[in-house]
């Protein structure tokens, strides 16, 4: 475990050195990222000039909702910074045979393939998310209890684990297909569902979608659970959400591992 941590840190260090080498690019990426996020926040502020709550009696009033958005920003920043760049590069590695070099190294291939490239500029959104969370929590009517503070990082980790598993499964599809350039697009479509409170998925279309995104592809648990833990009054029902997030994260990790290993066994390499 210590060895994997030191390799992780070594890769992180090398990526930071690389990012600093192209500092203009780094700053531009930070600015683009923060700019896009600011536009989203402005849009939500605009929405709250017309309504005081998302849905009816959902509890997602302005401040809790911004805590929800902040939680999403933090989770996405972690995933975009630490896992997505490697997955995006994998497509090219499979197509050009660059994956060969990884497979001969005495290390878990999934680890190296999913965590060797980092994009630190994506963390900019995470820092803004932390600021937004503090701002929202200070203005909320109820303060989160100590148990919420304990469960919040845990459920954030569960959310990251679910998204990481999805990335790994999409990456496995890349290995099987030889080329999967729509990986990022597909990822974006999927994660789009996680960006809003589960309560909005109601009615004849919403309910099946909610069931699908909770039990089949547990994308709705990613942000909803930690956000609910920190931004909604802590009740018995919250424990059910937390348990669901833990089970979904564990199941997703196991499933993604199985799929990735099966895909690697089918790897044919590219001609040189």
């Amino acid at each position: 475990m210590g060895r994997y941590l030191s390799i992780f840190l070594c890769c992180a260090r090398a990526c930071l050195v690389r990012d600093m080498t192209f500092r203009a690019n780094f700053l531009l990426e930070c600015l683009t990222s923060v700019g896009w996020m600011s536009m989203n926040l402005a849009f939500y502020l605009l929405v709250f000039t017309f309504t005081s709550e998302i849905g009816r009696n959902t509890g997602w009033t302005r401040e809790p909702f911004f805590a929800f958005v902040a939680t999403g920003l933090i989770i996405n920043a972690i995933v975009q910074a630490f896992f997505m760049p490697s997955a995006e590069e994998l497509t090219e590695m499979v197509r050009t045979g660059g994956l060969d070099g990884v497979l001969v190294q005495p290390l878990d291939a999934q680890f190296l393939l999913s965590m060797h490239r980092f994009d630190f500029s994506s963390l900019a959104n995470g820092f803004v998310g932390i600021g937004l969370l503090v701002w929202a929590l200070l203005r909320m009517e109820h303060a989160p209890p100590p148990i919420a503070w304990l469960l919040y990082p845990l459920t954030i980790l569960c959310g990251v684990a679910i998204l990481y598993s999805l990335i790994v499964m999409l990456a496995a599809a890349t290995i099987l297909m030889g080329r999967n350039q729509s990986l990022y697009d597909f990822w974006f479509y999927l994660t789009n569902f996680s960006r809003y409170p589960a309560e909005i998925y109601a009615g004849p279309w919403g309910s099946p979608l909610r069931a699908l995104c909770t039990f089949v592809i547990p994308i709705l648990l990613v942000v909803n659970v930690p956000a609910r833990v920190i931004a909604q009054p802590f009740a018995g029902q919250t424990w059910g959400w937390v348990a669901a997030a833990i089970v979904a994260a564990g199941g997703a990790l196991v499933l993604s591992r199985v799929i990735f290993q099966a895909a690697l066994a089918k790897y044919r390499s590219a001609s040189s």
Partner: protein, 320 residues
Amino acid sequence: MYDKPEGLFSSISGLFHRTSRVVEALKGVDLTVEKGEFVALLGPNGAGKTTFLKLLSGIITPTRGEARVLGAVPWQRTDDFRRRFALVMGQRNQLWWDLPAAESFRLHKEIYRLEPARFERTRDELVDLLGVRKLLLQPVRDLSLGERMKLELVAALLHEPEVLFLDEPTIGLDVVAQHSLHRFLAKVQAERQMTVVLTTHYMKDVAALCKRVVVITHGSILYDGSLEQIVDRFTSHKIVTLDLDGPPAEERLKRLGFPYEIRGPQVILRIDRTRIADVLPEILRGESVRDVSVEDVPLEEIVAELFRSEAGQAPAGSQR
């Protein structure tokens, strides 16, 4: 393998129905390499050389058959096995592109769990041997192909592998860089008693480094033996070059009955190797000769001829 017919219509119909064919990249290959051997795998493009190296290094899994490298089944990809060999591919870059090679070496040290003192000692030894110390802090993308290949080799040898697979390491390199790599590889292999399997298209690599040559065509072994034996076994003649003072007497050359070629003041004859001693005095008697040389047929020529022959028509006894 998917057979993609030409044209737009075929591409559209290919979305619904595809025809594929089975390509046997390797078949019936039976090879044993002893510890400390330096073996060259030769073959035309598509012969299966790189596939063979990929199998031996566990990158791909065969549909059937067995292989053991250092006692391990390569495609089981155990960490213990992967710590004991290295693969260098001349057409692939394994160093971090935007960073100096020193950063890749540092990562390598972590991956292979190298003790810091041992890592530094090996690295310094290798970079000094190749004369690339000043390149360590230069981003890899700014290096020439030859410089990059030298650093790729350093990275591959940092963990002191027992087996080294080299896939066309000198491809695209100039003569100076090739020569430098030859000297380096010969020295390191001899010192470490490392087992090396090399694929190449350059006969100079083979002549400089390998005693044993394996020729693969169509996924099968066509020849397995020493470099010298290739010459003895697959050519029946030698090349005699005469450097003349005046124009050659063509009538006399025709009478000798050997194939010949006139290049300015030079005459190049292909003479049966068993008759050289009888024929040479006769040739020299009738001409005003400034210089004469008797050489084997160039290796490139022999191997090219070998590649042209079908795998099934290999001369009897050429396989080990």
